[in-house]
Assembly symmetry: D2
Homo-oligomer: 323 residues x 4
């Protein structure tokens, strides 16, 4: 049953009823209506997770709309095996009929009814990112250059390293550089000092950009912010150290990289993004390392970007990445 | 502002408030709630397009919910250049408080307010597909085998060819085979007979599976159903005949395939899906043809599948493909 | 130091000395010299492996040339870690000044000097392939259709299954179908009968096209021909059973398929070819299975094709695949 | 006919005759023989092109060997349509029994017999690269960082721009920066000055890293070195300006990038490397630009790397890229 065809009935009269005359011949330079994305201060993103039940989508849409919010994008996922529901709603609150507190109370009521966990992120709150790095600096450079190019909606107040090498680079991008040399004896002390600094600088996200130290379970327990790592293999293949050597010895025909949230289980955290590149018998370990660098940069940057845009939800050991 | 963290605050207490105790250790075999996808007769998909305005998402959600429909998945797209809004809502109507006619009237009212074109497709209506083929039969085989394997939710009542070759194959899959030899003189007549047969068999979609005849503008105008074609190049490169020869002569390092809706502009219709595969100086035209076959099969099958699941909307010369 | 530029010195006079006047404007339909690939009876492929030493390439080229063979393609690989040298030489023997036996004696002499293992495969010897299959028949269909389309230079005298399902399909392609039901008690007996049949039919290669039985170490020891398997994961991730379930539970963002030679170490044999396809949280296990089917078909077909063209050498647990 | 099996006869005795006992259990850290790649001063690469005839491969191998050169890698290509033969031979001359001049005379004699164009490149001659850039600096940064990381065997004595923006960046990498502002009136003068500077600095290769000026036919005619450009589309689609806008308007599902040698035909020169990345209706032009940046960097870097390693031959409007 249909009023107007949305799919091409081929040439004759495709969508002709739908074609707004004033659209015809419009150049790409002209935006038909102001894009609310232009002013981030009124934008917000609501993330939701709860047991799957009837009526969740409508209840949230109705509540937001009832307060005058305009839903710009919404995506949801139902995991029917786990019986869980997930949603991301991106909306414009510039014409709220009430205020943000009332809206939050409204959401809170709905959340109570459905047993929801939820999170409301305001568009004007750029996340504050600390990058941890060791000797390999390609991912660090890549993130700093992307940030510089405006690709990442974030602030980068801090770079931490266990080596002094990157100091000059980091400072040339206007970020603070702190070296924390870590050895068997001072690890807890150094991590404690790192946590204090991270809190002082109000950091929201830690990115391990080929940081070759293992963060202790205590650090992860106390730090209170998500940690994203880039592992230089297609996890779960080649867990642990020297994955390119492992890949070489196994004779694989593709090498990969994996960005994941860090948990106390090494290389076992929820995967955000992965990709691979072709290799062959011609590639020595050094070639795999070189090819892998491009992969690591791209995979890590994609994962960080998704996180910064509040597109990633985790459950169990998995992620929902709304695109 | 947040009630319960949805992102891992790392190891300590990640999502612990969210972890429903009875979920812990649940095996993957157990579905927490019955998946309504199991019974297609109550499922439906609503496709919508209209000028972008505030409140559309909420109004539709409210209307569906008000009638007792349960929204299973919804995806939308705003083209801010064109000022157009698109939505696909997949819902379960098994607990409608009213009936389907009332629901449609409700949708129709909303549609009137927003100037919507809309389409409601019921889950129990498998689309009826006619496949057109010439001498190259790999895409035909591929579609028939996928259909046979249950990959495509459709019926295939008819295969049309301008050659007799595929008759036995087609019949072994239980479909009707009709040969329409086309030449300069009989083209309009043959096409007219094809249209009659397509109508008689109540066909909803025509798939050109390497059909080497150009359908006339009149055919496309009259046939009244969408036509999907597979073109053996990465459009808009290598429009027209012998694209693998063109690719060879240009010395490209990738060859492609493109599935698109057919319009009277040859190879210019809205693109649904594309993909490429790597080639090199070692590949003669014959190698490109061989490599391209795999690509053609996969790209065409993906496009047909998206269409059958009502995931494709067209506007102007472009598609929105909801995934 | 150079006589004539081979790289474009840009527009002015690029390669002009090299441009044979009669080439200009030559259409692609015209072959300047007869392609010896046309008559396979005079073509042969020499595969060689030995400890890496100076002079191997020249010695073999000289020997072949000295007997009047014309080298059409040669590719080699040096594994400097292992100190091993590998070469594949494809040549035309239609103008041999001696005969094939003399040529082989010549090769044998060189081989003795360098400690070479070598293998000479004549172009007129199509390999004879037996396909083993269980219930999933997509790879079987795919191989039979490719063979039918002339993509695979081989004969397929036999298909073996532990189920009766594929019998009709196989026979329609003109191959013999034999069912060997295998259980705990009769396994050795059935395998013995299989080996007898394989020998009787002079089979050169066994392809496990989603064959769900594990071949015993005794079978592999006695059968005397290579066995290629398709594993439905990106090995070494997800070894063993139900890899799509494993992939789903781990939450990977890509799924893969791997074609490898079978050894007595399950899923550990030398990898010939691998590829991946993107997946997301939206993909249930059933979707992974569906997406994986395309991957399995393509990866297995590529590996089989490389093997049939004598492009694969193994050493240790790795392959050299000359392309 | 075979002496020793090179392919796995499965488990029993695979390659056992070939397994050198002292190889067994050898760790990957140990190189069985010194890798001559370690000392580049004795390495050289011979590039050859000529009409295809019998005996070329053997004659060259014999000649090199006769002078005491050790062939490390050789690859060749026969274009049977054009009747052309191409070869790249990489060899070690550290144990030449004669000297390099004698070797060159030897090659020259063979070349005369076969009508060869040839080029001998010594391993100790790093190519000198000038990078041309405009406002978009991502490819510039990428090349400088790769060079800095030791990925590119080249020197970068010069960066030319028509804008002042990149000056500081370039100097921080130790390269000379020269601004040549170009307008309608001064173009020939400025290009003339550029050519003088390029000659003075002994430049071997120009890389247009998103240089937004069109080089004149006169410049290309006079400059005497190859010019590699990165075009931000999958050529031949979207020739000319604003390819991302063109891609957006056409509604493609993949965007591409193409690295090619520059000729006087804009965007028509021989293609060295191409790649694509997936996009969707969600991607506005700005998203295509962002996604394309990664592609442009990787495709350009791969092409430059192939060129620097003397792996690219051109003929007509095509390339042979030996990998």
């Amino acid at each position: 049953m249909s009023e107007i065809p949305l799919l091409p009935k081929s040439i004759g009269h495709p969508l002709s009823q739908l074609e707004d005359p004033q659209l015809t011949g419009k150049s790409l330079e002209f935006a038909a209506m102001p894009d609310p994305a232009g002013d981030p201060t009124h934008l917000a993103t609501l993330l939701v997770r709860c047991p799957d039940r009837k009526g969740i989508v409508a209840s949230l849409a109705q509540t937001l709309s009832g307060h005058g919010a305009n839903i710009l994008a919404a995506d949801q996922h139902r995991d029917s095996l786990e019986g869980q529901f997930f949603q991301r709603i991106h909306f414009d609150g510039s014409e709220l009929q009430t205020d943000w507190s009332s809206l939050e109370r409204g959401i809170s009521e709905v959340a109570g009814r459905f047993g929801m966990g939820w999170q409301l992120v305001h568009g004007n709150e750029s996340k504050r990112v600390a990058i941890f790095v060791s000797k390999y600096d390609h991912c660090l450079w890549d993130l700093l250059l992307r940030h510089h190019a405006g690709e990442l909606d974030a602030e980068v107040p801090l770079v931490v390293s266990n080596h002094p090498d990157a100091e000059e680079t980091v400072k040339s991008f206007g970020a603070r550089f702190e070296q924390f040399s870590v050895n068997g004896e001072n690890k807890r002390d150094q991590e404690q000092r790192e946590i204090e600094l991270l809190r002082e600088l109000d950091v929201d996200l830690i990115v391990l950009a080929r940081y070759m130290q293992i963060l202790s379970a205590e650090f992860l327990d106390e730090v209170g912010v998500p940690v994203i790592n880039i592992h230089h293999s297609f996890l779960p293949a080649f867990i642990g150290g020297r994955p390119y050597h492992q890949a070489y010895e196994r004779g694989v025909k593709l090498i990969g990289a994996t960005a994941h949230y860090v948990t106390s289980q090494l290389d076992e955290g929820p995967i955000i993004e992965q990709d691979v590149v072709r290799c062959s018998h011609r590639d020595a370990v050094g070639d795999l390392v070189r090819k892998g660098r491009d992969l690591e940069k791209i995979v890590l940057a994609r994962a960080v970007r998704c996180h910064l845009e509040d597109r990633v939800l985790t459950y169990g050991n998995k992620t929902v990445v709304f695109d």
